[in-house]
Symmetry: C2
Subunit: 346 residues, 2 copies
C-alpha cells in the first residue's frame, strides 16, 4: 500500500542505498541488473518530494492563464504541454479569472512549487512578474507585457500589425466609417490593437467620432452591448473591427438579433481564428496567429532560461499574424444608411 522507497529497492537488490541511487542517476554499477529487477518488481518510483528537497529543483513548471475556456489560452496550454511532454517537467495549471488579486494568490502559492513559470498576467499593472523576479523564479510572459518591460522574456504577437491588417483590409474594400470594439486597454493586446486601429486610420487621414471606439472588455457580453451601441448610432459604421474572439461572438449575436446583414450592411473582422469561423454565414474574416506555437515557443524559452545562466539578457519575441480572408467583408452599401438605421432602431 505504501509506495516503496529506495531502501526497499536496496534491500531487495542486496546493495546499499547509495548504490541504487547512483545506478538510477546513470553511474556504472556492478549490480545494475539486479537493481533493475528490484525496481521493476517493486514498481519503484523515486519520491519527487525527497528529490526536490535535496536538489532544490521541483521538476514542475507553472502555467498561469486568465481564462482557460478561451480557445486561445487552451491552445497555448496545449502548445506548452507538447514541449514538456518530451521530458522532465510537469505542468501546474492555474486560472486567474482575469483578476489581479486572484493572480497574486495563485502566484504566491505556485512560487514555491515550481522551477519556472509561464504567465499571462491579468493586467499590465500587476505585481506578479516583479514578485517572481524577486523570488528568482525564471519567468516567461505570454501575450501580455509586464510593467517593467524588457526585464522579462516575453512572447507576444504583432497586435498593432494585426489591427493594421484588419483596418487596411476594410479600407481596401472601400470603407471609411470603421468602428472597433476594443478590449481592456490596460492589457497589452487591448492596448496595441486599439493603437493599431487608431494609427492606421490616422495614417490615412481618416477622422472618426469617438463613439466609434466601443469598450467591450474582452467579454462576450461586452461585445454584444458594444455592437448594439454602434448599430444604434445615428450615423453608424459600415465596418467593425472586433478585437478578440469572445467579443466577436457577442457582436455577431447582436448583429443577428437586430437583423443587420453581413457583409451587405456591415463588414466585420475578428481577432483570432476558430474552427467555427469557417461555418458561420458568412464565414468570418479574421486576424489569425499561431496559437499553439506561441505556447510552445514560450515553454521552450522558459526551459532554456531555466537551464542556461539566468542572467542572460531577456528576449522579447513578436510573432507574426496574418489576415485570413473569408466572406464577412465587402464594399460598403451604396445607398447610405437608411435601411440599417431603421433596423438599428428596434
Amino acid at each position: 500500500m505504501k509506495p516503496p522507497t529506495i531502501t526497499d529497492v536496496a534491500q531487495e537488490a542486496g546493495v546499499s542505498v547509495s548504490t541504487v541511487s547512483r545506478h538510477l542517476r546513470g553511474d556504472r554499477v556492478r549490480a545494475a541488473e539486479r537493481i533493475n529487477r528490484a525496481v521493476a518488481r517493486l514498481r519503484y518510483r523515486p519520491s519527487p518530494a525527497a528529490q526536490s528537497l535535496k536538489s532544490g529543483k521541483t521538476g514542475a513548471v507553472a502555467l498561469v492563464v486568465p481564462d482557460i475556456t478561451n480557445p486561445f489560452f487552451a491552445a497555448v496550454v496545449r502548445g506548452a504541454e507538447s514541449i514538456t511532454a518530451q521530458g522532465g517537467h510537469t505542468i501546474f495549471l492555474a486560472n486567474t479569472d482575469e483578476s489581479d488579486a486572484r493572480e497574486a494568490e495563485v502566484v504566491e502559492d505556485l512560487i514555491t512549487r515550481v522551477d519556472g513559470m509561464l504567465l499571462a498576467p491579468a493586467s499590465e499593472n500587476n505585481p506578479s512578474p516583479q514578485r517572481l523576479a524577486d523570488a528568482g523564479v525564471p519567468t516567461v510572459l505570454i501575450d501580455r507585457e509586464a510593467p517593467s518591460t524588457g526585464r522579462f522574456d516575453t512572447v507576444l504577437i504583432d497586435n498593432h500589425g494585426g489591427a493594421r491588417f484588419a483596418i487596411e483590409h476594410l479600407l481596401s474594400n472601400g470603407h471609411e466609417r470603421i468602428a472597433t470594439i476594443a478590449g481592456t486597454v490596460d492589457s497589452t493586446p487591448g492596448r496595441f490593437r486599439l493603437e493599431g486601429y487608431r494609427d492606421t486610420l490616422a495614417a490615412y487621414s481618416i477622422e472618426l467620432p469617438p463613439e466609434f471606439v466601443q469598450p467591450g472588455g474582452f467579454k462576450e457580453h461586452g461585445g454584444y452591448q458594444s455592437m448594439l451601441r454602434l448599430l444604434a448610432l445615428p450615423d453608424p459604421p459600415t465596418a467593425v473591427f472586433v478585437a478578440n474572439n469572445t467579443m466577436t461572438i457577442g457582436a455577431l449575436r447582436a448583429i443577428k438579433d437586430i437583423g443587420v446583414r453581413v457583409p451587405d450592411d456591415l463588414s466585420v473582422v475578428g481577432f483570432d481564428d476558430h474552427p467555427f469561423s469557417e461555418i458561420l454565414d458568412p464565414p468570418l474574416t479574421v486576424i489569425d496567429r499561431p496559437m499553439e506555437e506561441q505556447g510552445a515557443l514560450a515553454m521552450r524559452m522558459l526551459l532554456s532560461r531555466m537551464n542556461n545562466d539566468s542572467s542572460r539578457i531577456s528576449r522579447r519575441v513578436v510573432l507574426d499574424v496574418r489576415l485570413t480572408e473569408r466572406a464577412s467583408c465587402g464594399p460598403p452599401r451604396n445607398t447610405p444608411m437608411g435601411a440599417r438605421r431603421k433596423a438599428a432602431r428596434i
Copy 2:
C-alpha cells in the same frame, strides 16, 4: 536569492525551529507576534517539498484530459479549478491527446506527485485507473468509465438519454430517415450515444440501413468525411444526429461545402453546446449539459474521497442533459430526395 527556511525565521524571531513550526500549524505559542513579523519580513513560505516528504501528502491533484482544446474539457478544467481555488490543493494538468500510451506515461509520472487524480480516460480499455487503484491514489473518473466499472467514483452524463432526446426531437418533427455520426465506440460517450440512437429508433420500430451510422471518431475531420458520405448516399437521411461538438463543426463544413440547406434539406442536432451555436445560420439545436458543474462535482467528490475513509463505497453519478432547441431542425422536405441527391453528386 535562496528562499528563506524555517530556520531563518526561527533565528530572526529568536526561538527554536519547533516553535515556529508549531505556531505555523496553529498551536498557541508565546512568541506568536514575533514569529509573524519574522515571517512577513523574510517573506517565508514553507517548502512544499519538505512538507510532503514528512507528511506523505503533496497538496496537489492531477487532472488528466484527452484534449484541452475541446471546449468541454476546458470547461471541466475550469469547474474543477474553481473548487480547488478555495483551499489547499494545486492542480497538475496533463493532456493525453486521446492516446492510451501517452496516458499511461502521464499517469505514471503524476502518480507520485499527487494526492488524488481526476481522469478522463482516453479509452474504456485502459489500464490507468487500475494502476491508480493499485497505487492507492484516490481517483475520480470523468465522463468515461473504466473497465472494472463500479470500483471508481465516476461523474458521467446521461449520454443515452441525450441521444434519445435528440432522436425523439427529430421524430417529432416528422423525420424517419435519421442518421448519426458516431464517436469512438470504445469510449463511454461514444458507445452510449450510439446505443441511445439505436434503442430509440428501435423503440419506434424504425429500421435504417447500416450506412446511416457513420464513424466520425470524435474528430472534426471525421465529422466532415462522415457527413460527405451520408449526403452521397443514394437515399440520404433527412436528419442527422452528430455525437459531439468537434464532429459537428466538420459536419457543418461538409454541409456548407455541398450546399445543402439546413433545416430545409437536412435537420441537424449536435451534442454539447457552444457560444457559437447560437450565431450559426441557422442556430444549432444541441444536447446541452452542465460542463463546468461536471468538473466541479468531480473535484468535490475527489476531495471528499481524499479526506474520508477511502474504503467508502464508490459513487457513480449521472448528470442530466437537456435539449436546447434552436432552428436547425424542421420537418423533412415533402418533395423526396431529388434536389439533395443532385447536390450530393458533386
